[in-house]
Symmetry: C2
Subunit: 457 residues, 2 copies
């Protein structure tokens, strides 16, 4: 018997057979085609219903030194949940449900397999906002969101997933259950262990439950599309907006090539002329009068040269359609997407660096720049159709990530490292920090069974 068969025999002996699925049922579960990365289907999928079952499963795998890949909704973009040949997949999908909403504490207690959309809806029904919001909301699970410290559009106002988690229950590699459930904003009782697991992509433990922080529902939203004079004007506008009107719910910057393509694909007449150097789409929940006064001032000082305030929900939706062109990237382009971050003051200079390197290495390339700059996050998309040479992905990765490293940026803003960015981590992380990360991994998972090959390799 090989390792996988030995582990399977023990699992079958200890566990209810309905929680074990065998026979290549895994790859069709992915929302993205990962066949280039993981050609073989894993042999076993585990489907625990309780924390106790997760604990038993991990204890068995740990004893056999059998690699395990924790899985959420399989919507990740860095391959963190993709099993390799010989891995066992452990999906949290049956551990689904909201255990409690505590309106006094403004918290929600959930099982890890609960879908994000379910959580958003339950929060709204209770008169609260759970502000994490991603395109994958209908499929992704909160356990995966926490394990990858997911970002999204509202980070500028509400922070990353890390900032929305008050407590966790985690099963360690050896099956120990760590109860770190907590409803309090202030709790300084020793090391804040939950922080180790948030964003560690299932390599240090398996998240089974969480206490989430709920926010007040926001008031009416005003949607504005405007054209700042240049990038520094866009940053200045953001800071003034925060000071005078309140931090916006979203602050999306689009460079011209992206704007033109967004207008074109959405089939509308351009709401602002398409020859501006930069565009910002933002949502404010502050006073409408204060916002109008601020925009008038910004015209006066020359920080913006044009603006549209959406006068109806329909018009606001039309403006958002421009930004949501990204949803059509997979259909209309052959996109290579970068999720990076940079100090906010460096983003424009980075784009110039990047464009210059691309121009000289890949003449004729078609590259789009856009992002949530208020939280330092830039997205870069290169259309591989415009780069006709064979297998340019590694060259493009190296080019972009080297430029990121040169400006002290981060090779992963919100998507994580997973399998795809592992080899580029050194552009943003020092050798000493990598060494300490390896020490942490060794402490929590001495046999290296949890999601091997991910994050640190």
């Amino acid at each position: 018997m090989n390792l996988l068969e030995q582990t399977l025999a023990t699992l079958r002996y200890i566990l209810d057979s309905s929680s074990i699925v065998t026979g290549g049922a895994i790859n069709p579960r992915h929302h993205t085609d990962w066949s280039h990365y993981a050609p073989a289907c894993p042999g076993i999928l585990l489907l625990p219903r309780t924390t106790e079952e997760v604990s038993k499963m991990l204890r068995i795998c740990n004893t056999h030194k059998q690699p395990v890949v924790p899985q959420g909704g399989m919507t990740g973009l860095a391959g963190g949940g993709v099993p390799r040949a010989g891995d066992i997949a452990l999906s949290l999908e049956r551990m689904e449900g909201i255990e409690e909403i505590d309106p006094a504490a403004a918290t929600m207690t959930v099982l890890a397999g609960t879908r994000l959309e379910t959580i958003q809806q339950a929060a709204a029904e209770a008169g609260f906002l759970f502000p994490l919001n991603l395109g994958a909301r209908g499929s992704c699970q909160i356990g995966g969101n926490i394990a990858t410290n997911a970002g999204g559009n509202s980070v500028i106002r509400y922070g990353m997933t890390r900032d929305l988690v008050l407590g966790l229950e985690v099963v360690l590699a050896d099956g120990r259950v760590l109860n770190l459930m907590n409803k309090m904003m202030k709790n300084n009782t020793g090391y804040d262990l939950k922080q180790c697991f948030i964003g560690s992509e299932g390599t240090l433990g398996v998240i089974t439950r969480a206490v989430l922080k709920l926010h007040p529902l926001p008031g009416d939203v005003t949607t504005v599309l405007c054209a700042p004079a240049d990038y520094s004007s866009a940053v200045r506008l953001l800071r003034t907006l925060q000071r005078k009107v309140g931090t916006p719910q979203a602050y999306e910057v689009m460079w011209p090539a992206f704007y033109r393509l967004g207008v074109d694909w959405s089939g509308q007449t351009a709401p602002l002329p398409d020859d501006k150097p930069i565009y910002v789409l933002f949502e404010s929940t502050g006073s409408a009068e204060a916002l109008e006064a601020l925009l008038a001032d910004a015209f006066e000082t020359g920080d913006i040269t044009d603006a549209v305030i959406a006068s109806s929900h329909t018009q606001a939706r039309q403006l958002w359609k421009i930004r949501e062109a990204t949803g059509e990237f997979p259909v209309r382009l052959k996109p290579l997407n970068f999720d990076i971050s940079l100090p906010i003051g460096e983003i424009d200079a980075f784009i110039q660096d990047c464009q210059q390197h691309l121009d000289s290495r890949f003449p004729g390339h078609h590259t789009l720049y856009f992002g949530h700059i208020g939280d330092s996050n830039l997205h870069v998309t290169v259309d591989l159709n415009s780069v006709p040479e064979p297998a340019p992905v590694e060259a493009l990765d190296e080019l972009v990530y080297t430029a990121v490293g040169a400006r002290k940026g981060s090779v992963s803003a919100e998507h994580g490292i997973g399998a795809l960015k592992r080899d580029y981590l050194h552009h943003s992380v020092t050798p000493e920090a990598l060494e300490v990360m390896r020490q942490l991994k060794q402490t929590f998972d001495p046999n290296g069974i949890l999601n091997p090959g991910k994050v640190l390799g």
Copy 2:
């Protein structure tokens, strides 16, 4: 030669002699009298000027297995910076200064020994708010604030110190320098190692530099004192305020005995009658009209029975004087202060539990309840003059912390564990979590030289 003398000899050989002070210069540095805890002065005080010096010092101490106590402004309330006999103290006070303010990124880069007040003032001069605010602002240092994850009055709006730190430089026990400096809100490149050091009270590493997150300066503040019908009305008022006007800058709840004493000590006529069941002092930066409408509604529904809106800065200061009675506790009482947190919905029930236990064990006790309930933090102060039996501190500690544990509260909200609360940690932390904390300590500091006797003991 004993251990201390051996270490001193090596330190003198390697380092500039001006960075080594010997001979009992330590205890007078404390802002609190710790003589009951640490009767002996440490023999050596180290005063590094650079990260490199900190690194050399720790490398030497680690080689000799010599215990080291990192020190900031020595204003902590849990004894985290107090040396024991035979410990070396390492003060960061010479590593002082602001390295950079980046207005585009809204960040400030500082050395660990920089005083909080210096940082607050520099932020304000640059048009930003650094929202961490404590009574000790003139003496405490940012390194200590980060190492203890300090709280303060503005946590409800801006979070704990943890939420205000984007990057750190840390020297590990063996002298390795960990550069985790980062200006980006979004950065998912592997494990977020800085989280390990924030709140670990110098037991896992010595913080030498930090990147802080700056906030926009708030607009005009309205100060309100009101009397909710009961505790649940006070919580409901908070949630409505957050939804309709915006999260307040402060939301301070006072129970009647505290209110009466605050009015009395401040020498003013009671702004609200002193027979109400509960009082809330809050500061709103939202629209004044929205706030007035909300208060009118709250009268209507019966959630509040009385309220004063400060009509001037002077009147606002008068209202705050009631809450600031705490500043006179050490002079007018013999206070035993508890800094605890509880799920917000449990705070009132906890007070009833606690009062009942105190009544039966210490009849005639004089106990005050007040806190920042919006962030789950309750302060309880027992006047030891009202508890005449000898040495009641341990009995009171045990009584209060047991009641906290029974309602899943935390024995330390914002002051940390240090030396004083170590033995009560088990009321809020499971044995499994304590075991994992010890594993982390072992990983970062295998010789146990960093602040031994603190946090985990």
